[in-house]
Symmetry: C3
Subunit: 345 residues, 3 copies
Amino acid sequence: MSYVRNAWYVAGWSTDLVGAAPLGVHILGERIVLYRGVDGRAIALEDRCVHRLAPLSLGRCEGDNLRCMYHGLLFDPNGTTIEIPGQDMVPNSARVRSYPVVERHSWIWVWMGDKQVADTDLIPPAVGFDDPDYILGHGTLDYEASAGLICDNLLDLSHLSYVHATSFGAGNQWADNQPTVMPLERGVRISRWMTAEPGPRTQTTEPLDRWQSYDFLIPGVLLMFSANYPLGTADRLAKGSPDPDDAISGITFTSQAVTPTKGATARYFFSWGPHVRSGDAALRDQLLEIAQAAFAEDRAIIEGQQRVIDDEPGRQVMPTKADKGVVLYNRLVARLSAEEAAVQV
Amino acid sequence: MSYVRNAWYVAGWSTDLVGAAPLGVHILGERIVLYRGVDGRAIALEDRCVHRLAPLSLGRCEGDNLRCMYHGLLFDPNGTTIEIPGQDMVPNSARVRSYPVVERHSWIWVWMGDKQVADTDLIPPAVGFDDPDYILGHGTLDYEASAGLICDNLLDLSHLSYVHATSFGAGNQWADNQPTVMPLERGVRISRWMTAEPGPRTQTTEPLDRWQSYDFLIPGVLLMFSANYPLGTADRLAKGSPDPDDAISGITFTSQAVTPTKGATARYFFSWGPHVRSGDAALRDQLLEIAQAAFAEDRAIIEGQQRVIDDEPGRQVMPTKADKGVVLYNRLVARLSAEEAAVQV
Amino acid sequence: MSYVRNAWYVAGWSTDLVGAAPLGVHILGERIVLYRGVDGRAIALEDRCVHRLAPLSLGRCEGDNLRCMYHGLLFDPNGTTIEIPGQDMVPNSARVRSYPVVERHSWIWVWMGDKQVADTDLIPPAVGFDDPDYILGHGTLDYEASAGLICDNLLDLSHLSYVHATSFGAGNQWADNQPTVMPLERGVRISRWMTAEPGPRTQTTEPLDRWQSYDFLIPGVLLMFSANYPLGTADRLAKGSPDPDDAISGITFTSQAVTPTKGATARYFFSWGPHVRSGDAALRDQLLEIAQAAFAEDRAIIEGQQRVIDDEPGRQVMPTKADKGVVLYNRLVARLSAEEAAVQV
């Protein structure tokens, strides 16, 4: 699997980093320690002391600095060693890597590439808990499978008709009809109208048109808006995009992020919930329960897929018509990765 | 370890494949999915969808066909993709391998080699639950050890005097005296008389002669008949084979199969029980209990042996006089494997 | 990690080898079986039968000999096969390696190098349970980390100020002041006075001088004496070694041994307790409780360090001033290992 390095990866929920305890995570195989400075801002350093390679995530926060709790070396937010107990001089080389971090939309985002080009405009516009329009629940799943396989899953929702026939109550339309797939500068947009098929259990019982559109963005972030419209809206708009304000029910938003952790493992973050016009905390909880059942189904099939791949790594896939989004997105990843590699040379 | 491919391997008990649920197994490192068609016949396909390599064993039986429950591709019993949801054309290359399967003697046998030479006459004549002469119990054990090590164990019963001194109540005769070992076209026959030592706890208390003879057949199937005869029978027959009908007690039959699953793991299938003339369901249960204790002893020593081998893989064994059956059988495996390899070139 | 082979390694506590059960251990990646002969002496053989490589540690002690309980081969204390059931002749090559063993100071020591130079004078002078001067408790910890990392830990007690700030109640003196480090022929001696800081919770409440000195000896044995002296003693002796008999309280001794087992795993043996002049069984139990908490802290940080190293094996450490003992000792190991390799050529 190749991944884009010049991108903001979700390292965790803001609520994962509380109190004085540092948090160790893996992203793209690198060990990173997150902690908060005195002003509460998140700081990300390489999780490996320069001295004897102990994990700084077992360390202690001291103001804006982080102390290795093996032999006491102290690091500032730039990764510079500012104290070596029992020793007056600190060598210039005594540094660990620091990573640009931004906390936004309830997620902690870490830039994994060249610091010179870290651009906060590239942070995908996820919907966080602070958004007044949505009432969101959230969850985290660890995968024994490559992030790339999870992205493939999210880019081809034809799997809903099979993997989630029960949990999401998804009918055959998902597999039988192709959505509109449109390239974006940093991803793909996948949209579809479903008529007379209400979709997830948020529907009214009367026939209506359901609109669903999501952007899937580098490095693996899904942002999806779904809503019901009066029957006939899809035809009236010639299958074009509706105005969100015209939605009559079933308005929900889900933000999801897939982070490659280490080897063929990944961490999957998701939130989902109704618009304030369209539901309440009770519906949020109901949706989250559905999502958790459904995402467990995804994990079962994707981890199975990973085991098959591990058994015989060289096997080629055979893309189908439903894979348009998968193919477009993976080409984008390949192109951006190649450009990064070219720059590094 | 080398194994013969042109052979019928036990994939499971007939009773392992019930209802509409497909069953995923490994044989010789290959992933195979078993399911039943509308007429109940067992079907075996490569357990890997052509599309995105998901395991078909997580799929759904639909009549004679099997549907991948990731994105809905449908496979017929030949492994041909007959439906790709959302797509009209199916490429000719959209096929998974199918395997010849036969269900016989309560086992599901899968032919792992060249389909052109699949010959049902090569299925070892095990005794199944449908045999009116025997009352059988059965069990299955998973091994963290190579199938070859389990075969070696079964081909040299001198281990009974040590591994099973308690469970089988086996005395020193097993180790001190050599059985008669005779080559067969597809295996070896190992027979012995034991006088005044009744053997497993099926005996009467009076002295008698006990006959035991088994065929160990490619690819790892043991078929053993044991019975007691009046004292003096062994001498009268000059240690030759007795007539089964002359047996007076302790008549049992055991069928055992060792299937290499993946890497250094194996699955071991066994049945055992008395002849209707010589026992009942209560004795069957008693024998099964003894067998389970004994086979756990085998597993402990063989998995220990595997760990020793894994620590230093290059070490040579030193065959002893008791290894005649082991040596003969392994030479046969080596010869047949080499012939297969020659044919493939 | 390189290790010295011509050395006595701790294989276990004397009390680990009781009754007729053989004990299988790994030392330097080699499988060794320990058992006791008729006179109670410990015997160490290669834990791998010559026949089919079964572990002899699953075998049965028979007088001075050990029988493989797979097919019954019998080995004498020299590792010579003296019986093969069912076979009259025993080939000369039917031998397993035997190892020099000495039981001393409550430990079973195995010589892992060239037998010709096995010298019992090289056994470190640990304090065993039979020593009338000390009242000792003991414990064993298995590590998912290289022995070398544990030795590094024990050679640089500046970690006490961080890893054991709570458990041992260690203050900053441990990290801020350097001990005296002196090379020994087979190790290093590390000593220090701490004034007005009583150290582990064995102290009286009045100010005093605390002396602590340990030898860290090939192949990974720590022998440490600690004691309190009247305030001013350190100055009076110009920081030199005090007379043990002048100690007034807090006199303890700890013996610790680190044995490389297999790959990046190790076994850590430790005893600790007060001098009879300075405590009783209750204090011993209290000390052991503290030690177990502290050694769990060591294990957490060292196993974390090992995981960091495993993630990116090539990373260099950056020694600090506190590493003088670590550097001296590791140079000694490197020199002795190189000399052994030169001799083997």
